[in-house]
Protein backbone atom coordinates (compact mmCIF):
# COMPACT_ATOMS: atom_id res chain seq x y z
CA UNK A 1 0.00 0.00 0.00
CA UNK A 2 1.27 3.45 -0.91
CA UNK A 3 0.13 5.77 1.83
CA UNK A 4 0.61 9.41 2.70
CA UNK A 5 -1.20 9.54 5.97
CA UNK A 6 -4.90 9.73 5.15
CA UNK A 7 -4.41 11.27 1.70
CA UNK A 8 -5.38 9.66 -1.62
CA UNK A 9 -3.07 7.15 -3.26
CA UNK A 10 -0.73 9.32 -5.38
CA UNK A 11 -0.77 6.69 -8.14
CA UNK A 12 -4.55 6.57 -8.46
CA UNK A 13 -5.72 7.86 -11.86
CA UNK A 14 -7.00 11.45 -11.70
CA UNK A 15 -9.68 12.60 -14.10
CA UNK A 16 -9.51 16.35 -13.72
CA UNK A 17 -6.56 18.47 -14.89
CA UNK A 18 -4.07 18.33 -11.99
CA UNK A 19 -2.99 21.67 -10.51
CA UNK A 20 0.43 23.25 -11.10
CA UNK A 21 2.34 23.30 -7.80
CA UNK A 22 5.42 25.29 -6.80
CA UNK A 23 7.10 24.22 -3.56
CA UNK A 24 9.74 26.23 -1.69
CA UNK A 25 12.07 25.06 1.05
CA UNK A 26 14.18 27.83 2.57
CA UNK A 27 14.49 26.37 6.07
CA UNK A 28 18.29 26.28 6.30
CA UNK A 29 21.35 26.74 4.12
CA UNK A 30 19.87 24.04 1.90
CA UNK A 31 17.44 25.65 -0.52
CA UNK A 32 14.97 23.89 -2.76
CA UNK A 33 12.26 24.51 -5.32
CA UNK A 34 10.05 21.93 -7.03
CA UNK A 35 7.56 22.27 -9.86
CA UNK A 36 4.84 19.63 -10.10
CA UNK A 37 1.61 18.93 -11.97
CA UNK A 38 -0.43 17.23 -9.28
CA UNK A 39 1.67 14.29 -8.10
CA UNK A 40 3.76 14.37 -11.28
CA UNK A 41 7.17 15.94 -10.66
CA UNK A 42 8.22 18.24 -13.53
CA UNK A 43 11.49 19.29 -11.97
CA UNK A 44 13.29 20.30 -8.82
CA UNK A 45 16.39 22.18 -7.80
CA UNK A 46 18.07 21.72 -4.47
CA UNK A 47 21.34 23.32 -3.54
CA UNK A 48 23.60 24.61 -0.79
CA UNK A 49 22.71 28.29 -0.53
CA UNK A 50 25.85 30.39 -0.41
CA UNK A 51 24.35 33.84 -0.03
CA UNK A 52 20.72 34.62 0.58
CA UNK A 53 17.61 32.68 -0.34
CA UNK A 54 16.06 35.97 -1.42
CA UNK A 55 18.38 36.23 -4.42
CA UNK A 56 18.43 32.54 -5.39
CA UNK A 57 15.04 30.91 -4.96
CA UNK A 58 12.89 32.63 -7.60
CA UNK A 59 15.53 32.35 -10.34
CA UNK A 60 15.48 28.60 -9.66
CA UNK A 61 11.67 28.59 -9.90
CA UNK A 62 11.88 30.56 -13.16
CA UNK A 63 14.31 27.99 -14.63
CA UNK A 64 12.01 25.12 -13.68
CA UNK A 65 8.99 26.83 -15.23
CA UNK A 66 10.87 27.65 -18.42
CA UNK A 67 12.20 24.12 -18.81
CA UNK A 68 8.73 22.69 -18.33
CA UNK A 69 7.16 25.29 -20.62
CA UNK A 70 4.78 26.34 -17.87
CA UNK A 71 4.12 30.04 -17.20
CA UNK A 72 4.49 30.95 -13.53
CA UNK A 73 0.98 32.35 -13.54
CA UNK A 74 -0.37 28.83 -14.12
CA UNK A 75 0.57 27.99 -10.52
CA UNK A 76 -2.50 27.17 -8.49
CA UNK A 77 -0.93 25.73 -5.35
CA UNK A 78 2.12 27.10 -3.51
CA UNK A 79 3.70 24.89 -0.87
CA UNK A 80 6.14 26.29 1.68
CA UNK A 81 8.23 24.53 4.29
CA UNK A 82 7.21 26.08 7.61
CA UNK A 83 10.08 24.81 9.72
CA UNK A 84 11.41 24.48 12.21
CA UNK A 85 14.44 26.19 10.72
CA UNK A 86 16.21 29.53 10.36
CA UNK A 87 13.66 32.24 11.20
CA UNK A 88 14.78 34.48 8.36
CA UNK A 89 14.94 31.60 5.91
CA UNK A 90 11.44 30.48 6.86
CA UNK A 91 10.14 34.02 6.41
CA UNK A 92 11.55 34.04 2.87
CA UNK A 93 9.53 30.92 2.04
CA UNK A 94 6.37 32.17 3.74
CA UNK A 95 6.62 35.53 1.96
CA UNK A 96 7.17 33.92 -1.43
CA UNK A 97 4.17 31.66 -0.86
CA UNK A 98 2.02 34.58 0.23
CA UNK A 99 3.12 36.63 -2.77
CA UNK A 100 2.01 33.84 -5.11
CA UNK A 101 -1.22 33.35 -3.19
CA UNK A 102 -2.03 37.08 -3.34
CA UNK A 103 -1.08 37.63 -6.97
CA UNK A 104 -2.63 34.49 -8.44
CA UNK A 105 -5.32 33.56 -5.96
CA UNK A 106 -3.31 30.36 -5.55
CA UNK A 107 -3.88 28.09 -2.57
CA UNK A 108 -1.08 28.14 0.00
CA UNK A 109 -0.14 25.01 1.90
CA UNK A 110 2.34 25.08 4.77
CA UNK A 111 4.16 21.84 5.55
CA UNK A 112 6.60 21.40 8.45
CA UNK A 113 10.12 20.98 7.04
CA UNK A 114 10.83 17.93 9.19
CA UNK A 115 7.59 16.23 8.07
CA UNK A 116 8.65 16.67 4.44
CA UNK A 117 12.12 15.35 5.21
CA UNK A 118 10.71 12.29 7.00
CA UNK A 119 8.29 11.77 4.09
CA UNK A 120 11.30 11.75 1.75
CA UNK A 121 12.77 8.86 3.76
CA UNK A 122 9.49 7.02 4.47
CA UNK A 123 10.75 3.82 2.82
CA UNK A 124 13.14 3.29 5.73
CA UNK A 125 11.84 1.07 8.51
CA UNK A 126 11.77 1.56 12.25
CA UNK A 127 12.23 4.91 13.92
CA UNK A 128 13.26 7.93 11.85
CA UNK A 129 14.96 10.97 13.35
CA UNK A 130 14.88 13.90 10.93
CA UNK A 131 17.29 16.79 11.44
CA UNK A 132 17.56 20.38 10.24
CA UNK A 133 20.61 22.43 11.19
CA UNK A 134 19.87 25.05 13.83
CA UNK A 135 23.34 26.63 13.86
CA UNK A 136 25.79 26.82 16.76
CA UNK A 137 26.07 23.02 16.92
CA UNK A 138 22.34 22.59 17.49
CA UNK A 139 19.69 20.77 15.47
CA UNK A 140 15.95 20.87 15.03
CA UNK A 141 14.76 17.30 15.38
CA UNK A 142 11.56 15.39 14.72
CA UNK A 143 11.04 11.71 15.55
CA UNK A 144 8.80 9.48 13.39
CA UNK A 145 7.60 5.88 13.29
CA UNK A 146 6.79 4.02 10.13
CA UNK A 147 3.20 2.72 10.38
CA UNK A 148 0.82 1.00 7.95
CA UNK A 149 -1.09 4.25 7.34
CA UNK A 150 2.13 6.12 6.70
CA UNK A 151 4.59 7.95 8.92
CA UNK A 152 3.52 9.05 12.37
CA UNK A 153 5.31 11.79 14.24
CA UNK A 154 6.21 11.01 17.84
CA UNK A 155 6.17 14.00 20.13
CA UNK A 156 6.95 17.62 19.40
CA UNK A 157 9.71 19.16 17.33
CA UNK A 158 12.67 19.98 19.54
CA UNK A 159 15.93 21.92 19.46
CA UNK A 160 18.80 19.76 20.67
CA UNK A 161 22.47 20.35 21.39
CA UNK A 162 24.99 17.84 20.09
CA UNK A 163 24.99 15.95 23.42
CA UNK A 164 21.20 16.03 23.74
CA UNK A 165 20.86 14.66 20.20
CA UNK A 166 23.08 11.72 21.07
CA UNK A 167 21.14 11.13 24.30
CA UNK A 168 17.85 11.34 22.41
CA UNK A 169 18.94 8.83 19.76
CA UNK A 170 20.52 6.46 22.31
CA UNK A 171 17.24 6.37 24.25
CA UNK A 172 15.17 5.21 21.24
CA UNK A 173 14.01 1.61 21.35
CA UNK A 174 14.61 -0.57 18.30
CA UNK A 175 16.39 0.29 15.08
CA UNK A 176 16.65 3.94 14.11
CA UNK A 177 17.63 5.91 11.01
CA UNK A 178 19.03 9.43 11.20
CA UNK A 179 18.32 11.60 8.16
CA UNK A 180 18.87 15.24 7.27
CA UNK A 181 21.66 17.72 7.80
CA UNK A 182 24.77 15.99 9.07
CA UNK A 183 28.52 16.44 9.55
CA UNK A 184 31.22 13.77 9.53
CA UNK A 185 31.94 14.01 13.28
CA UNK A 186 28.26 13.90 14.20
CA UNK A 187 27.60 11.01 11.78
CA UNK A 188 30.43 8.96 13.28
CA UNK A 189 29.25 9.41 16.85
CA UNK A 190 25.62 8.62 15.97
CA UNK A 191 26.45 5.62 13.77
CA UNK A 192 28.51 4.15 16.64
CA UNK A 193 25.35 3.87 18.76
CA UNK A 194 23.73 0.39 18.77
CA UNK A 195 21.02 -0.19 16.11
CA UNK A 196 21.46 3.32 14.72
CA UNK A 197 22.11 3.97 11.05
CA UNK A 198 22.87 7.31 9.46
CA UNK A 199 21.82 8.25 5.94
CA UNK A 200 24.65 8.70 3.42
CA UNK A 201 25.65 12.27 2.48
CA UNK A 202 23.20 12.30 -0.46
CA UNK A 203 20.44 11.53 2.01
CA UNK A 204 21.21 14.66 3.99
CA UNK A 205 19.85 16.84 1.20
CA UNK A 206 16.21 17.84 1.49
CA UNK A 207 14.41 17.19 -1.80
CA UNK A 208 11.63 19.68 -2.47
CA UNK A 209 9.69 17.25 -4.71
CA UNK A 210 8.83 15.39 -1.50
CA UNK A 211 7.71 18.64 0.09
CA UNK A 212 5.47 19.28 -2.92
CA UNK A 213 4.08 15.74 -2.79
CA UNK A 214 3.26 15.90 0.90
CA UNK A 215 1.86 19.42 0.48
CA UNK A 216 -0.44 18.31 -2.33
CA UNK A 217 -1.54 15.24 -0.37
CA UNK A 218 -2.40 17.44 2.62
CA UNK A 219 -4.17 19.89 0.32
CA UNK A 220 -6.35 17.06 -1.03
CA UNK A 221 -7.04 15.86 2.51
CA UNK A 222 -7.46 19.17 4.40
CA UNK A 223 -7.72 21.93 1.79
CA UNK A 224 -5.47 25.00 1.75
CA UNK A 225 -3.95 26.72 4.79
CA UNK A 226 -5.23 30.18 5.75
CA UNK A 227 -2.73 32.00 3.55
CA UNK A 228 -2.76 35.38 5.30
CA UNK A 229 -2.44 33.82 8.77
CA UNK A 230 0.23 31.27 7.82
CA UNK A 231 3.43 31.70 9.77
CA UNK A 232 6.60 29.72 10.28
CA UNK A 233 7.18 27.46 13.28
CA UNK A 234 9.39 29.75 15.36
CA UNK A 235 11.05 27.07 17.46
CA UNK A 236 13.88 28.09 19.72
CA UNK A 237 15.82 26.47 22.50
CA UNK A 238 13.68 25.79 25.53
CA UNK A 239 10.45 25.51 23.48
CA UNK A 240 8.52 22.30 23.01
CA UNK A 241 10.80 20.20 25.14
CA UNK A 242 9.43 16.89 26.31
Amino acid sequence: MIAIHGAPDPWSPIETEPPIILAFDTSSTIGGVALCRGFEVLGEETWRVGGSHTAQVLPAAARLCQRAGIPPRATSIAVTATGPGSFTGLRVGASLGKGLAAALGAALVGVPTLDALAHQHRALTGTLVALVDAGRGQVYAGTYRAAARGLTRRGEFVVLSEEELIEHVAALSGAAWIVGEMWPERAQVLAALPKVRVATPAGTLRRPAHLAELGYARFLRDGPSDAAALQPLYLKRGDSRR
Binding site: G99, A102, A229
Partner: protein, 242 residues
Amino acid sequence: MTTILAIETSCDETAAAVVEDGRFMRSNVVFTQEELHRRFGGVVPELASREHVLGIMPAVERALETAGADWEQIDAIGVSYGPGLAGSLVVGVNAAKAMAFARGVPLVGINHLEGHVYANWLIKRDRWLGADGRRIFPEPRAPQFPLLCLVVSGGHSELVLMRQHCTYQVLGRTRDDAAGEAFDKVARILGLGYPGGPAVQRAVERLRDASGLLHVPPASQFTRPWMRGTYDFSFSGLKTAV
Protein backbone atom coordinates in the same frame (compact mmCIF):
# COMPACT_ATOMS: atom_id res chain seq x y z
CA MET B 1 -1.12 55.26 -17.63
CA THR B 2 1.14 53.17 -15.43
CA THR B 3 -0.25 51.60 -12.28
CA ILE B 4 2.14 50.39 -9.62
CA LEU B 5 1.49 48.26 -6.58
CA ALA B 6 4.01 49.36 -3.98
CA ILE B 7 5.07 47.47 -0.86
CA GLU B 8 7.06 48.71 2.12
CA THR B 9 8.18 46.68 5.15
CA SER B 10 11.42 48.41 6.17
CA CYS B 11 10.74 48.80 9.84
CA ASP B 12 7.56 48.50 11.90
CA GLU B 13 4.88 49.31 9.33
CA THR B 14 3.42 46.88 6.82
CA ALA B 15 2.28 49.08 3.96
CA ALA B 16 0.92 48.74 0.44
CA ALA B 17 -0.36 51.29 -2.05
CA VAL B 18 -1.69 51.54 -5.58
CA VAL B 19 -0.37 54.61 -7.39
CA GLU B 20 -0.98 55.85 -10.93
CA ASP B 21 1.77 57.54 -12.93
CA GLY B 22 3.94 58.00 -9.86
CA ARG B 23 1.62 60.68 -8.45
CA PHE B 24 -1.99 59.67 -8.01
CA MET B 25 -2.71 57.59 -4.93
CA ARG B 26 -5.59 55.23 -5.47
CA SER B 27 -4.96 53.64 -2.10
CA ASN B 28 -2.44 53.80 0.72
CA VAL B 29 -2.75 51.15 3.42
CA VAL B 30 -0.48 51.29 6.48
CA PHE B 31 -0.65 48.70 9.26
CA THR B 32 1.35 50.12 12.13
CA GLN B 33 2.91 47.92 14.83
CA GLU B 34 3.27 50.81 17.25
CA GLU B 35 1.11 49.09 19.90
CA LEU B 36 3.20 45.92 19.71
CA HIS B 37 6.54 47.69 20.30
CA ARG B 38 5.40 50.35 22.75
CA ARG B 39 6.05 48.34 25.91
CA PHE B 40 9.63 47.71 24.75
CA GLY B 41 10.26 51.42 24.15
CA GLY B 42 11.47 50.74 20.62
CA VAL B 43 11.11 48.45 17.65
CA VAL B 44 11.98 44.80 18.41
CA PRO B 45 13.27 43.45 15.08
CA GLU B 46 12.15 39.83 15.56
CA LEU B 47 8.62 40.87 16.54
CA ALA B 48 8.46 43.32 13.64
CA SER B 49 9.47 40.60 11.17
CA ARG B 50 6.81 38.23 12.51
CA GLU B 51 4.15 40.88 12.26
CA HIS B 52 5.05 41.65 8.64
CA VAL B 53 4.54 37.97 7.75
CA LEU B 54 1.00 38.24 9.11
CA GLY B 55 0.26 41.69 7.67
CA ILE B 56 1.61 41.44 4.15
CA MET B 57 -1.35 39.72 2.45
CA PRO B 58 -4.08 41.76 4.17
CA ALA B 59 -2.20 44.99 3.39
CA VAL B 60 -1.86 44.15 -0.31
CA GLU B 61 -5.42 42.90 -0.60
CA ARG B 62 -6.82 45.98 1.09
CA ALA B 63 -4.71 48.29 -1.08
CA LEU B 64 -6.09 46.67 -4.24
CA GLU B 65 -9.63 46.62 -2.91
CA THR B 66 -9.58 50.29 -1.81
CA ALA B 67 -8.12 51.26 -5.19
CA GLY B 68 -10.78 49.26 -6.97
CA ALA B 69 -7.92 47.69 -8.90
CA ASP B 70 -7.50 44.10 -10.00
CA TRP B 71 -4.23 42.36 -10.77
CA GLU B 72 -4.69 42.78 -14.52
CA GLN B 73 -4.30 46.55 -14.04
CA ILE B 74 -0.99 46.29 -12.15
CA ASP B 75 1.89 47.15 -14.50
CA ALA B 76 4.76 46.76 -12.02
CA ILE B 77 5.54 45.99 -8.39
CA GLY B 78 7.59 48.50 -6.41
CA VAL B 79 9.25 47.52 -3.15
CA SER B 80 11.63 49.23 -0.78
CA TYR B 81 14.78 47.14 -0.38
CA GLY B 82 16.52 49.19 2.33
CA PRO B 83 17.97 50.70 4.34
CA GLY B 84 15.91 49.13 7.08
CA LEU B 85 15.66 46.10 9.38
CA ALA B 86 16.96 43.08 7.46
CA GLY B 87 14.36 40.68 8.87
CA SER B 88 11.53 43.08 8.06
CA LEU B 89 12.73 43.86 4.54
CA VAL B 90 12.90 40.14 3.73
CA VAL B 91 9.13 39.87 3.97
CA GLY B 92 8.19 42.71 1.63
CA VAL B 93 10.97 42.00 -0.84
CA ASN B 94 10.17 38.30 -1.20
CA ALA B 95 6.42 38.84 -1.38
CA ALA B 96 6.99 41.52 -4.05
CA LYS B 97 9.37 39.30 -5.99
CA ALA B 98 6.86 36.46 -5.98
CA MET B 99 4.09 38.81 -7.16
CA ALA B 100 6.21 40.16 -10.03
CA PHE B 101 7.27 36.62 -10.96
CA ALA B 102 3.70 35.35 -10.83
CA ARG B 103 2.15 38.21 -12.82
CA GLY B 104 5.04 38.55 -15.27
CA VAL B 105 5.47 42.26 -14.50
CA PRO B 106 8.66 44.20 -13.65
CA LEU B 107 9.90 44.48 -10.09
CA VAL B 108 11.27 47.89 -9.14
CA GLY B 109 13.48 48.02 -6.05
CA ILE B 110 13.29 51.37 -4.30
CA ASN B 111 15.71 52.82 -1.78
CA HIS B 112 13.70 53.61 1.34
CA LEU B 113 15.01 57.18 1.45
CA GLU B 114 14.04 57.75 -2.19
CA GLY B 115 10.58 56.66 -1.14
CA HIS B 116 10.52 59.40 1.48
CA VAL B 117 11.66 61.98 -1.08
CA TYR B 118 9.11 60.94 -3.69
CA ALA B 119 6.26 61.05 -1.19
CA ASN B 120 6.28 64.76 -2.05
CA TRP B 121 4.99 64.00 -5.56
CA LEU B 122 1.98 62.09 -4.30
CA ILE B 123 -1.53 63.44 -4.48
CA LYS B 124 -4.20 62.15 -2.15
CA ARG B 125 -7.20 60.55 -3.72
CA ASP B 126 -9.69 63.31 -2.81
CA ARG B 127 -7.46 65.92 -4.45
CA TRP B 128 -7.47 64.35 -7.90
CA LEU B 129 -10.70 62.35 -7.96
CA GLY B 130 -14.01 64.19 -7.65
CA ALA B 131 -17.10 62.80 -5.97
CA ASP B 132 -18.23 61.60 -9.41
CA GLY B 133 -15.05 59.51 -9.69
CA ARG B 134 -13.69 61.70 -12.51
CA ARG B 135 -10.25 63.29 -12.47
CA ILE B 136 -10.08 66.87 -11.27
CA PHE B 137 -8.31 69.30 -13.63
CA PRO B 138 -5.91 70.99 -13.44
CA GLU B 139 -4.09 68.52 -11.23
CA PRO B 140 -1.84 69.91 -8.47
CA ARG B 141 1.55 71.03 -9.73
CA ALA B 142 4.48 68.67 -9.21
CA PRO B 143 7.51 69.89 -7.22
CA GLN B 144 9.91 71.84 -9.47
CA PHE B 145 13.68 71.32 -9.77
CA PRO B 146 16.10 72.18 -8.30
CA LEU B 147 14.70 71.35 -4.89
CA LEU B 148 15.92 70.77 -1.39
CA CYS B 149 14.50 67.87 0.55
CA LEU B 150 14.73 67.30 4.29
CA VAL B 151 14.20 63.66 5.19
CA VAL B 152 13.45 63.27 8.88
CA SER B 153 12.14 60.19 10.65
CA GLY B 154 12.93 57.68 13.36
CA GLY B 155 15.63 56.21 11.16
CA HIS B 156 17.22 59.14 9.37
CA SER B 157 17.85 62.86 9.15
CA GLU B 158 19.24 63.96 5.80
CA LEU B 159 19.31 67.10 3.69
CA VAL B 160 19.22 66.25 -0.01
CA LEU B 161 19.58 68.43 -3.12
CA MET B 162 17.82 67.25 -6.28
CA ARG B 163 18.51 68.89 -9.66
CA GLN B 164 16.43 66.36 -11.60
CA HIS B 165 14.54 63.10 -11.14
CA CYS B 166 16.39 60.27 -9.41
CA THR B 167 19.61 62.23 -8.84
CA TYR B 168 20.50 63.08 -5.29
CA GLN B 169 23.24 65.05 -3.66
CA VAL B 170 23.30 64.50 0.08
CA LEU B 171 24.32 67.89 1.48
CA GLY B 172 24.21 66.86 5.10
CA ARG B 173 23.12 64.13 7.43
CA THR B 174 23.04 63.32 11.11
CA ARG B 175 26.39 62.39 12.60
CA ASP B 176 24.77 60.28 15.32
CA ASP B 177 21.09 59.74 16.12
CA ALA B 178 18.24 60.43 13.73
CA ALA B 179 15.86 63.15 14.90
CA GLY B 180 13.11 60.64 15.63
CA GLU B 181 15.55 58.41 17.50
CA ALA B 182 16.48 61.39 19.68
CA PHE B 183 12.78 61.94 20.42
CA ASP B 184 12.37 58.25 21.32
CA LYS B 185 15.36 58.31 23.66
CA VAL B 186 14.33 61.59 25.28
CA ALA B 187 10.80 60.28 25.81
CA ARG B 188 12.24 57.13 27.38
CA ILE B 189 14.49 59.13 29.73
CA LEU B 190 11.53 61.28 30.78
CA GLY B 191 9.21 58.27 31.02
CA LEU B 192 6.80 59.73 28.47
CA GLY B 193 6.18 56.60 26.41
CA TYR B 194 6.75 55.40 22.89
CA PRO B 195 6.95 56.56 20.10
CA GLY B 196 8.78 59.60 21.39
CA GLY B 197 7.68 62.28 18.92
CA PRO B 198 3.94 62.19 19.69
CA ALA B 199 4.70 61.50 23.39
CA VAL B 200 6.85 64.64 23.73
CA GLN B 201 4.25 66.61 21.78
CA ARG B 202 1.50 65.50 24.18
CA ALA B 203 3.66 66.37 27.21
CA VAL B 204 4.30 69.82 25.78
CA GLU B 205 0.59 70.36 25.17
CA ARG B 206 -0.01 69.92 28.90
CA LEU B 207 2.10 73.04 29.47
CA ARG B 208 -0.36 75.16 27.50
CA ASP B 209 -2.28 77.65 29.69
CA ALA B 210 -5.93 78.70 29.34
CA SER B 211 -5.06 81.31 26.71
CA GLY B 212 -3.24 78.70 24.64
CA LEU B 213 0.25 79.95 25.47
CA LEU B 214 2.99 77.40 25.96
CA HIS B 215 5.17 77.60 29.05
CA VAL B 216 8.31 75.63 28.26
CA PRO B 217 11.84 76.03 29.57
CA PRO B 218 13.90 78.33 27.30
CA ALA B 219 15.41 76.43 24.40
CA SER B 220 18.75 78.18 24.96
CA GLN B 221 19.45 75.60 27.67
CA PHE B 222 19.82 73.02 24.93
CA THR B 223 22.53 72.50 22.36
CA ARG B 224 21.63 73.15 18.74
CA PRO B 225 21.59 69.99 16.59
CA TRP B 226 23.29 71.83 13.71
CA MET B 227 27.02 71.34 13.05
CA ARG B 228 28.32 74.82 12.32
CA GLY B 229 30.00 75.25 8.93
CA THR B 230 28.34 72.12 7.51
CA TYR B 231 24.86 70.89 6.64
CA ASP B 232 25.19 68.05 9.13
CA PHE B 233 23.14 67.51 12.27
CA SER B 234 23.94 66.02 15.65
CA PHE B 235 21.22 65.09 18.11
CA SER B 236 23.22 63.22 20.74
CA GLY B 237 24.28 66.41 22.56
CA LEU B 238 20.69 67.58 22.67
CA LYS B 239 19.63 64.24 24.09
CA THR B 240 22.32 64.44 26.79
CA ALA B 241 21.31 68.03 27.61
CA VAL B 242 17.71 66.89 28.16
